[in-house]
Symmetry: C2
Subunit: 305 residues, 2 copies
């Protein structure tokens, strides 16, 4: 039995007669092939990548496992349609917080048709992509079992964040007190557990970065970094299972002996945002264990800046 995924943050969603991805109960994610060349392009990327012996193991782990294509009953009710069979990245995760970040200031490849260039350029200019080198495409931030998830009110608001707004979102993502209502300063309680450490988000991003400084096989246009962790594990002092995956390969092109400078530049920009949160803890509120005196002290320090 296939069903609509619980934790999808970006892209077309299934349901109510719309075409979108489905999951099964054994960890597979079924992504409908887009009818135009995008579907064929994504299949050919996964096929090439999964059989490419030049990709080191510590890099393949950042990509969803690929299990070919399969005809399955599509979510739009129009019968059997071809789907990519991929790894369900949130399978066996409990209340994961997820963010989807589309990397690159340019979402179109060189030699794209003129009208496609202008369409993408317009969107890159209207969103964070051009100024920041990436744009947030979606986010689901788990608050608590009582308040549930925070999600952006609409898709375009999250795509057009300023640098300061992205910083705040990335702090809220790993805070215990994230809330839109109270306007509380995020406490960044889980910053070091999620972003820091030898297995945290920053370390994983730096591994991906090192590969992009060297690899000239693929150029990844309009591809996303998916960032996940489980807040409840972090709250109990356990490893929050912080993890990065790369997703969405409908616009991957051959590298032809040149590194993907567009993806790499955007990735470095995103890395700088994450590392700043780790290196400037003063910008976060005191953690929830701090006593009021210390908290007041910190607040008054900040208010005098």
């Amino acid at each position: 039995m296939l069903k609509v995924p619980d934790h999808q943050v970006a892209g077309h969603k299934a349901g109510d007669g719309r075409l979108g991805p489905l999951v099964d109960d054994s960890g597979r994610f079924y992504k409908p092939l887009q009818g135009d060349e995008r579907g064929a392009n994504e299949v050919s990327f996964y096929t090439s990548f999964s059989s490419n012996t030049k990709i080191p193991d510590h890099i393949t782990r950042f990509f969803p496992k690929f299990d070919g294509t399969q005809l399955v009953e599509a979510s739009d009710g129009l019968g059997m349609q071809p789907h990519l069979v991929l790894q369900d990245l949130t399978f066996d995760r409990v209340n994961p917080s997820i963010m989807d970040i589309k990397i690159g200031s340019r979402t179109w490849p060189p030699h794209a048709p003129e009208d496609y260039v202008q369409k993408c350029l317009k969107k890159d200019m209207a969103t964070s992509s051009l100024p920041l080198g990436f744009r947030v495409s979606g986010a689901r931030i788990f608050g608590s079992s009582k308040v549930g998830y925070w999600e952006p009110k609409n898709k375009s608001s999250i795509q057009t964040l300023s640098a300061d707004e992205v910083k705040l979102l990335l702090k809220n993502f790993i805070s215990s007190n994230a809330s839109e209502e109270t306007q509380m300063k995020p406490d960044c309680a889980f910053a070091s557990a999620v972003y820091g450490g030898s297995t945290g988000i920053l370390s994983q991003l730096l591994e991906i970065k090192a590969w992009f400084e060297d690899q000239t096989i693929y150029h990844f246009y309009s591809c996303s970094v998916l960032m996940m962790f489980e807040k409840e594990l972090a709250s109990c002092g356990k490893s929050p299972r912080a993890e990065i995956k790369l997703v969405d390969f409908a616009h991957v092109h051959e590298g032809k002996g040149v590194i993907d400078h567009n993806f790499l530049g955007g990735l470095c920009s995103f890395i700088k945002f994450i590392s700043e949160i780790l290196t400037t803890p003063d910008d976060c509120a005191a953690d929830s264990l701090a006593d009021d005196a210390q908290r007041n002290h910190i607040y008054s320090d900040n208010s005098s800046v």
Copy 2:
């Protein structure tokens, strides 16, 4: 007495009533202020940069020294005009080989006027900038005192090089047998002396890269890396005085808390080209000391590929 520089490789050149930069005999370079906002913008960058205490010393050395502005007799014969007074980067160099590489796949800043965006985009697409993340803007490669300098026949041919052509040019740049006529495979005789080592070009580029991964003060659009060395010193086994400088700051903008992902991506792409020459010496012909047998062996290896 001011005169026309001997070693200019890119930009407007003085002489025959045209406005261009001049040099004096004590190491100063006089760059006429462009009349529109570009001139004012470059003055304001140099003024800001030279007084910015946050720039570490190991980075300021990559920028020309700035000595204010001065009214001098311009090269177009139209009388006294304001000039930037900068360091003459080739002062006291003998027969330097020089290359000017404009960094970034995008030469225009976000929020530029629409017609300027479209003009720059067209040029970025027509040149190497978009595919490679940089374009060669000019080159003067010293051959020998007998044959003198090699220069590209015209400006546009060097700006539109493919990845393979850039590789060949970067090999010819540091070869003892560089020649257009004989079609000889470059021997890369000076690769390790110029590109390699702790003071070579690659090391310097990596220092600049590390700064760009961190600094969020300036964004450098349409700025160039100037790469220089002296072949005759290398031929005598002396240090070839390999040096990188950044030049052309008419399009520098505020970073506003974001790294310059466009410059950084292009710089990383250029670095990959340089490091490949150092890591794959097999791609170069045997050096001039190799005996014929070895040379034939290498050639037959390559021809079988």
